[in-house]
Subunit: 452 residues, 2 copies
Amino acid sequence: MPLENIYKYIDANSQKFVNDLVQLVRQPSVSAKKEGIQKCAELTAKMMKDAGISARIIPEEEGNPVVYGEVKSERSRKTLLFYDHYDVQPPEPLEEWICDPYGGEIREGKIYGRGTSDNKGDIVSRLKAVQAYLETVGSVPVNIRFLVDGEEEIGSPHLPPFIQKHRGLLSADAAIWEFGETDRMGRPCIYLGLKGVLTVELRARGASRDAHSSEAPLIPNPAWRLVWALNTLKNEREEILIDGFYDEVEPPSAGEIEFLRNIPFEEKEEKRDLGLKNFLRNLSGLNALKALLYQPTCTINGLLAGYTGIGPKTVLPNKAMAKLDFRLVPRQMPNEILGKLKKHLANRGFGDIEIIEHGSTEPTKTPITESFVQVVIKTAEEVYCKKAVVYPTSAASGPMHLFRNWLGCPVVSVGCAHAESRGHAPNENITLDGFIKGTKFMAAIIHYFSLS
Amino acid sequence: MPLENIYKYIDANSQKFVNDLVQLVRQPSVSAKKEGIQKCAELTAKMMKDAGISARIIPEEEGNPVVYGEVKSERSRKTLLFYDHYDVQPPEPLEEWICDPYGGEIREGKIYGRGTSDNKGDIVSRLKAVQAYLETVGSVPVNIRFLVDGEEEIGSPHLPPFIQKHRGLLSADAAIWEFGETDRMGRPCIYLGLKGVLTVELRARGASRDAHSSEAPLIPNPAWRLVWALNTLKNEREEILIDGFYDEVEPPSAGEIEFLRNIPFEEKEEKRDLGLKNFLRNLSGLNALKALLYQPTCTINGLLAGYTGIGPKTVLPNKAMAKLDFRLVPRQMPNEILGKLKKHLANRGFGDIEIIEHGSTEPTKTPITESFVQVVIKTAEEVYCKKAVVYPTSAASGPMHLFRNWLGCPVVSVGCAHAESRGHAPNENITLDGFIKGTKFMAAIIHYFSLS
């Protein structure tokens, strides 16, 4: 039984694996600030090679380099692709960290640092699963491919042309996505989809310069125009008013609702963490979860106009700006939503408001009926000895659709984080146990996928 | 003829006067940020003393100090009061200035800098007019008083208790207010009234911290709440929707409309200067002027929420802020309007939005029939050799009502700015010619007031 030997190898080498993760966490790689990117790509490629994986750094013309890895199987024509990213979120606010975000410090069974849970822990666990295979069995039972993105945290703007260019390199029969965790009860969480996202900036303009507010009876105020325009987009009942916005939206199927019933939604903890008495529209329980996963959104991310310092300033500003994101559900295509937004504003007399697109990704889902999904669920339940929590989709976004829709393979997201890993936030961490168990989980997925 | 000698003195010393103005402009004094206030008060008092005026800084318990100056006349019991202010508006947005806002740079006959036109140019011209009197005649023909406010740009919140306390010091037979200009034809503009103003800040709050925007179906967004609340205040037809807002508003009388007909409203130039094709609601001619002077307003001065940097950030902010001002016409009292605003928001379900008052002043007017008004008009026409343009009221605001209503004296506003002085905006400036002519105008007002 190869898995037993592989698990033994992983246990015997766990301290070395942790050391490698510490090394990767100590290398900053903030894509938003272009900090440490090249160095982190090189370190990732080196770790791939050390694991026995043939690795190369593929530079992009405009974006950050992609780290690509491959191990061919002598026995199988099936291919499993791992999507990860070596870039991380900025560590700010620094004052809220209990230790250096780039220290990789270990405290009470947890390793702390920016990227430990999102997504460097997963990178290392996946490389080490392959290494364990190669060191114990001498080969891998399926072809393995790694695509390690350098821009996931800024919306992977250059991944679509990259995939178009390297389609052949990337084709696969199934893919494991970059994130996942165990919940507070230690159950493995499995995600089968992502929302899409469209980010835009609306810009209103007035006079050629700021004016004294005494001239307000005569001079158009772009801050007012922006307020009126925004007000036509969503009402106080949280209904998005853009014509045709909901046309493509489908409610969750009866089958999906059954899955939702099995998701232990930790509502009380969530509210306490956010200092909220109630969720929007008093949503609770299954209804809150349905809204979270299946409802498209229109969110104001930022507003700016005129004077924003201390005290008053009687100025009439000449420009105003709003940043918005739309989280989209399957069949809502970002480019179509952008078209509807433009038409909506023009039809309501706000054609003067400029709309700048800041990037988008499409929604996607892999049906639970796909055999690969069943393989992952069964493997998870065997490795963790607990019932898996299956999310038919997730509230977050990412470039999963490129793999699911363009390359045509099923994509499932699982990973080695835990419920309080604090991704994107101060004191990001994973547990050492979770990291090692996650490494075994990845090896087991390779194994059972090869048998399926 | 004393005026001839006084004019000669002013011409001979014009370079020195300009240097003093440069020095005053170089001293920042932003009341909104409490920046440079004490230093600017001290510099103003020093300039008063240097001009031969007995000066003192009167500290206020809570507010910025008032600079008070006095020269007694040996010949007259009449008193003329000058109201000015040494504080200025914040200089932002800095990137739109062609030179340092605190540089006092001179280019092509203009002196640039925050406060040049509002109101440091006027302060210096008035001090120098008195100095010219003292240096040439040896005395002043009427008692002169200066009240130089340190909080005009934030609504003079502490001036009412100051005036109540120092009523005796301040009593006067007439007052010259702080602002005025020549129009594009070089005609002196004379203002007999001011709108009131109420400035407020609205603050909306959501969760206890910013959240990831994927949680938007559940977490309240204060930026949306602010947009919806603001939208209830004014509609796209520029109608203010606060219940009872227009209750006290009176249209201009037939007599006032006659004055308006004589005001050469420089509509084309104004539009060109502002880069506008049309004014709001296509207002033009007499209708535009009536709106400007007699219509109350509700203006968004500033908006701030969430992420406002470059590119996207999928954040769900936990606070949002709007700054507003209301310009008020006679009989609209700021405290009553504030009460109506509070009631309005509460009635429409926005009781959660905090309303912070940032200061207010009441509207006021001096009748054109007052003899002092006639003195100023005749003096202006003699000094500028042009017909004066008389505004029965103005679109701007200030604490004029304290003098007009409490102290009971006629108040007329004239000053040394010009039509493109850009008060409150980047590249604020006055012309050197306008500054020197304005100094002569002030000396002539003192002269003819003494003869009246």
